[in-house]
């Protein structure tokens, strides 16, 4: 086999690992509830593939090959541990369905269960997103740590702790029942959106890390939609993220400068992504059940209309924000509402909304100070505006945003 062939096989393994990781971990752990064990077994299978596939060729059903190999190492591991009491039924479960050994059978997709396990109320909400990124997408702890601004060792320990709780804490691998479903689904959606938000905020022009994480979040939402196509909010979330994705290349100028949404050139927006977002939003509306993500997507949809109308319907945006505030009056929503009011009803009205937000909540909340600075400047209150700009600059992480605000501050 030539070096080029070998590289080909490696790329195949990489692709299969990416596409099948979550399915395999979900299936392997749905019997044992042992996510760590399933991940270890799968890594061993992937290492085995790196030796076997370049030598013997890529198997006809690579996913089944990985599953069988991983399952063998899982059985070996359980035997080795001699966890007789817990182990015997597990071994039986792992051995069930002998036809699977033929490498042909399809195995059920348990990723939905896994998503609900990761966002289980018994797990620290701060760990929902990291768990999903690791178990469903196979991201390593160091990369997740970077995205969450947590020391890698700490993130590794927290992930292990969460997995131990899943294994030993009786958290069921199941899809919640009707009455529970919506609430539990919210946690899943929140976790996916958190990954997207981190990727989005971090996306300073050249920062590949943030860009990847936003893509991973879109991927997760697509997986979820595949598994729950009737849930309007799943479509809402996907529509929201696609609208943001559509503007990716317009968010930075040629020298990497920050370009605010209202100054972006709509010609640089991706029309196919906008159209896809609009389709999901329209489909979601058919269910007649509104929700946070549909409203947020609707706001982005109004902004996207500027591509054809050249205008922004701020009154419509204000209405959507009012709906959002009724559902979840987060700091971000209230700040966005103030900005929309300032556009629709004038800066005076916008400032009044900002003033109504408790000061101790916003002390370190950068977007609040950026909006406040902008509104004060429009009112001609330059001294106060400069103070607000200072806080917005001092709290900014993204150097492009910092530079943009420094110029506005003057």
């Amino acid at each position: 086999m030539t070096a080029a062939d070998e590289e080909d096989v490696h790329r195949t393994i990489e692709r299969i690992a990416r596409e099948s990781y979550g399915r395999l971990v979900a299936y392997l752990s749905s019997h044992t509830r042992d996510l760590g064990g399933a991940e270890d077994a799968l890594s061993e299978a992937l290492i085995a593939a790196l030796t076997a596939w370049p030598r013997d060729g890529v198997p006809r059903n690579p996913e089944a090959w990985l599953l069988t190999t991983a399952r063998h190492s899982l059985i070996d591991f359980i035997r080795h541990q001699q966890v007789v009491l817990a182990g015997e039924p597990t071994l039986l479960l792992l051995r069930e369905n002998p036809t699977e050994a033929t490498l042909e059978t399809k195995f059920p997709d348990e990723r939905l269960k896994l998503l609900f396990v990761c966002a289980h109320p018994a797990i620290d909400p701060a760990m929902h997103t990291p768990l999903m990124l690791q178990t469903v997408l196979g991201l390593d702890a160091a990369r997740i740590a970077g995205a969450f601004l947590i020391p890698p060792k700490t993130m590794g320990q927290r992930l292990v702790r969460a997995k131990t709780k899943i294994r030993d804490g009786g958290i069921g691998f199941e899809i919640p029942q009707d009455h529970e479903l919506l609430q539990r689904l919210d946690a899943v959606l929140e976790a996916i959106y958190a990954a997207f938000g981190i990727g989005w905020d971090d996306m300073a022009g050249s920062d590949q890390r943030g860009r990847d994480l936003a893509e991973e979040a879109v991927w997760l939402a697509r997986v979820l939609l595949q598994l729950m196509s009737d849930e309007a909010e799943v479509r809402g979330l996907l529509a929201l993220m696609l609208h943001c994705e559509a503007r990716r290349s317009a968010r930075r100028g040629p020298k990497g400068q920050y370009v605010p949404l209202s100054e972006q050139n709509p010609k640089q927006w991706s029309l196919p992504l906008i159209e896809e977002a609009e389709r999901h939003l329209a489909d979601a509306a058919k269910h007649g059940r509104s929700g946070r993500f549909q409203l947020e997507a609707a706001i982005q949809s109004v902004h996207a209309e500027r591509a054809s109308s050249g205008l922004i319907d701020w009154e419509a945006i204000v209405l959507f924000y009012e709906g959002l505030i009724r559902i979840s009056p987060t700091l971000g929503t209230r700040t966005g509402y103030a900005a929309a009011i300032a556009e629709a009803n004038g800066p005076e009205a916008g400032l009044a909304v900002l003033d109504a937000i408790e000061l101790d909540l916003v002390a370190a909340y950068q977007p609040y100070w950026a909006v406040r600075a902008h509104v004060l400047r429009r009112l001609g209150k330059m001294r106060e505006a400069v103070d607000a700009y200072d806080l917005a600059i001092g709290l900014a992480e993204d150097p492009a945003v910092r530079e943009f605000l420094l110029q506005k501050r003057g």
């Binding site: 947590i150 300073a204 200072d390 806080l391 600059i393 001092g394 900014a396 992480e397 150097p399 420094l406």
Partner: protein, 121 residues
């Protein structure tokens, strides 16, 4: 809990301190103001450029003097800030907002008050 943010900067960053345009100093001025406003600032100072440093060792009873900073690395200690914060998480948040995080590096280190107490006894 107190944390030190140790600011590491490249020669280019040190040089831009004297720029006519205010990007470097302006970013630091705003960052300082945000720290003070948030009530977390304890103290700190920028340092003169590394070439102004002199390093002393006593080896076998003899004084050894070296021109320049202790470590011969591209990025050099350019200053430090001490912050009062509830947790490492909060300290990392503030470090990420530090202008040097995007053009150099910021090391976050907890102070060692126990050691200080033992020394002061």
């Amino acid at each position: 809990m107190q944390f030190a943010l140790l600011i590491y900067e490249s020669p280019e960053a040190f040089a831009s301190r004297n720029d006519e345009i205010d990007a470097y100093t302006g970013a630091w001025r705003s960052y300082y103001k945000a720290l003070v406003d948030a009530g977390v600032y304890v103290g700190g100072d920028p340092l003169q450029v590394p070439e102004t440093g002199t390093t002393i060792r006593i080896k076998e009873g003899k004084r050894r003097v070296q021109d320049g900073p202790y470590a011969d690395t591209k990025e050099q200690l350019g200053g430090f800030t001490v912050l009062e914060l509830p947790s490492l998480d909060a300290a990392l948040d503030w470090a990420a907002r530090c202008p040097a995080a995007s053009y150099g590096a910021v090391e976050v280190r907890p102070l060692a008050p126990d050691m200080k107490r033992r020394v002061e006894e």
